[in-house]
Amino acid sequence: MDVTAEVALECLERMVVIRAVEEGICAEYSNRNIRGPVHLSIGQEAMAVGVLNVCRPEDVAVSTHRDHAHYLAKGGSVGAMIDELYGLESGCSRGYGGSMHLFSGEANFMGASAVLPGSTPIAVGLGLGCKLDGRRAVAVGFSGDGASDEGSFFEALNLAAVLKLPVLFVCENNGLSTNTPLAARQAQTDISAKARAFGLVAANADAVDVFAVRRAAAEVLDHVRSTSQPAVLALTADRLCAHVGPVSTIDPIDTGAMLAEAANGATRDPIASCVGAILRDEPQLRGECIEILEGVPTRIAAEFRRANAAFEDRNAVAGLVAPPPPKSHTV
């Protein structure tokens, strides 16, 4: 690890918050009080956390339909997000946005687009706003590899480069657009190479390792901030969940199992990888790691219980009948 113990635990804690919120969604979804499509980030937490951990509060971010991790890593309120999933007025988007359109003005999380590559051109505009503000803030535009199938993704890269705007485009490559593999969609699958062809600086990192993401992000962010030129950070990770719906392909966090998985050098779970790196370099932090793995999910489960009760109270007045569960979560 090339970070302090404090930063290492901060990254771990943020990833566990994201995972625990999404495990909460999986656990609660069948009660049908969370009514709307959910696109989970399980397996991809290190992308959001590694990048946003080296951003400043005044930096602005925009995201996609898979926005939970970005919202939470940027500092969005956990309770307000869970309220949003339940459609409550106290939700971070006042019940209008739902899972795909989280928003936090306080955290400079400017919202999320569910029609790709919508977030990418908007990130260019946020970068222009940062430049006009003259405060050396940076715009961070998250997108998936699916967005890089689209023409306007590359329009946006070109526009940011030609106007010299401080934008970090983070392309989260989980290798799948819904379920279609990248290689079936693009003849040239190296997203960084395409970015360089447009005149942008580009870097890669494997996002199973949050500290590798953080390192790569710090380097490109420094470039973006000091030169007011855009850059692309292409990250790879496995989506350990379905494209849409409350379906995880790994077990919920269990401290014992996580500590065992942390010793597996080939793990694709970024949380296990992070715990492994911390215990390898700073074994005295074992207690703190266990505290996070056990404490965070407990706190978040309480938030779900609170929001679910608020939904029930609200519905006691509204009297909505729960609709039948979706036949398939693929659409």
Binding site: R35, G36, V60, V62, E84, G87, L88, G91, S93, R94, G95, Y96, G97, G98, S99, M100, H101, F103, G105, M110, G111, S113, V115, G118, T120, P121, I122, A123, V124, G125, L126, G127, L128, G129, C130, L132, D133, A139, G151, S152, E155, A156, N158, L159, V162, L163, R314, N315, A318, L320
Partner: protein, 327 residues
């Protein structure tokens, strides 16, 4: 007669005049478009902006309409007031994802916490053999969408006042500049006053029939009114000014008064202005009440189960509406 309080300008001059006035007052306003600083660009409607305010506030951009609208949305979310100028409405078709899915919807998707004060000016290449791809009106595609404002000025004076309102609006506003309104000149106040959206204007008084018109069809309707006056028909001409918001109140009251209506549209008939005017009249007139439109709410769809339930038509509500409307 030119008094010191007014300027004699054509449409392009009026647009430039209003733009300069607002850019002077509000440093958050900036303008961009493809070739915007070319001599005579946009039928001269951006002349002198860069010379006055510098190229940082009036800049040239590559050909990438979708990204260019994204540029406007993102900076608008940061509190700026961008103006994107598009040489033809037809080119905005390349930016429909950003205009419809993003600019119009972003405020709603954030629970109306964020706003997108973006202005898009787009020209229609009416006349001079511009053929299919340079002459599209296409405004009704935008007017269909909640969250957008669609403005159709009919003269220099109207162009200046309506543009000023667009620049101050917190919604994304599409200002359609029909080449047909660029010809004549008019006195415009030295200090332009904003013209509120959704308030139609009486362009000509009359008693027998009401002509509802927009954009370049207002002057056309005035000429028709003059011609039919010789046959003893007294036509009132109403400039609707904005397609969204639409001044339904004026449409209803004029139609009730004259009882006969003609609609002068710049676009195609299908799903256009005449259908819209007919709906407003048919739903409201106490003598008619022959039409009831059943539709989702005129807003962007909310996510919450509670809000979503009120967004789509509900069986009992519609049954009640039918009973009330037709009984």
């Amino acid at each position: 007669m030119v008094s010191p309080d007014t300027l004699r300008v054509d449409y392009a001059g009026a647009v430039v005049h209003a733009l300069k006035q607002e850019m002077e007052r509000d440093t958050r306003v900036f303008v961009y478009g493809e070739g915007i600083n070319d001599t005579g660009a946009y039928l001269n409607s951006t002349d002198g902006i860069a010379a006055r305010f510098g190229e940082a506030r009036c800049f040239d951009v590559p050909n990438c309409e979708d990204a260019l609208v994204g540029l406007g949305i993102g900076s608008a979310l940061m509190g700026y007031r961008p103006v994107f100028v598009s040489l033809r409405v037809d080119f905005l078709m390349l930016a429909m994802n950003q205009i419809i899915n993003h600019a119009a919807r972003w405020p709603a998707m954030t629970g109306y916490q964020a706003s997108v004060p973006l202005t898009i000016r787009a020209l229609i290449g009416r006349g001079w053999g511009q053929a299919a791809q340079h002459s599209g009106a296409l405004y009704s595609m935008f007017a269909n969408v909640p969250g957008l404002e669609v403005v159709l000025p009919s003269s220099p004076l109207e162009g200046a006042g309506l543009l000023l309102t667009a620049l101050r609006s917190n919604l994304t506003t599409i200002v359609i500049d029909d080449r047909g309104v660029f010809a004549g000149a008019e006195d415009v106040p030295a200090v332009v006053e904003p013209i509120p959206f959704g308030e139609a204007r009486v362009a000509r008084a009359g008693t027998d029939v009401t002509f509802f018109a927009i954009s370049s069809m207002v002057s056309f309707a005035l000429r028709v009114a003059d011609q039919v006056a010789a046959s003893g028909i007294s036509a009132e001409v109403i400039d609707l000014r904005t397609a969204r918001p639409l001044d339904e109140e004026t449409i209803r009251s004029c139609a009730a008064r004259t009882g006969r209506v003609a609609v002068f549209d710049i676009g195609w008939p299908g799903f256009g202005l005449s259908a819209e005017v007919a709906r407003v009249i048919s739903e409201a007139s106490p003598l008619q009440r022959r039409l009831l439109s059943v539709h989702r709410k005129d807003e962007q769809t909310p996510s919450s189960a509670f809000l979503e339930d009120a967004h789509y038509p509900r069986l009992d509500d519609v049954a009640q509406q039918v009973e009330a409307h037709f009984s």
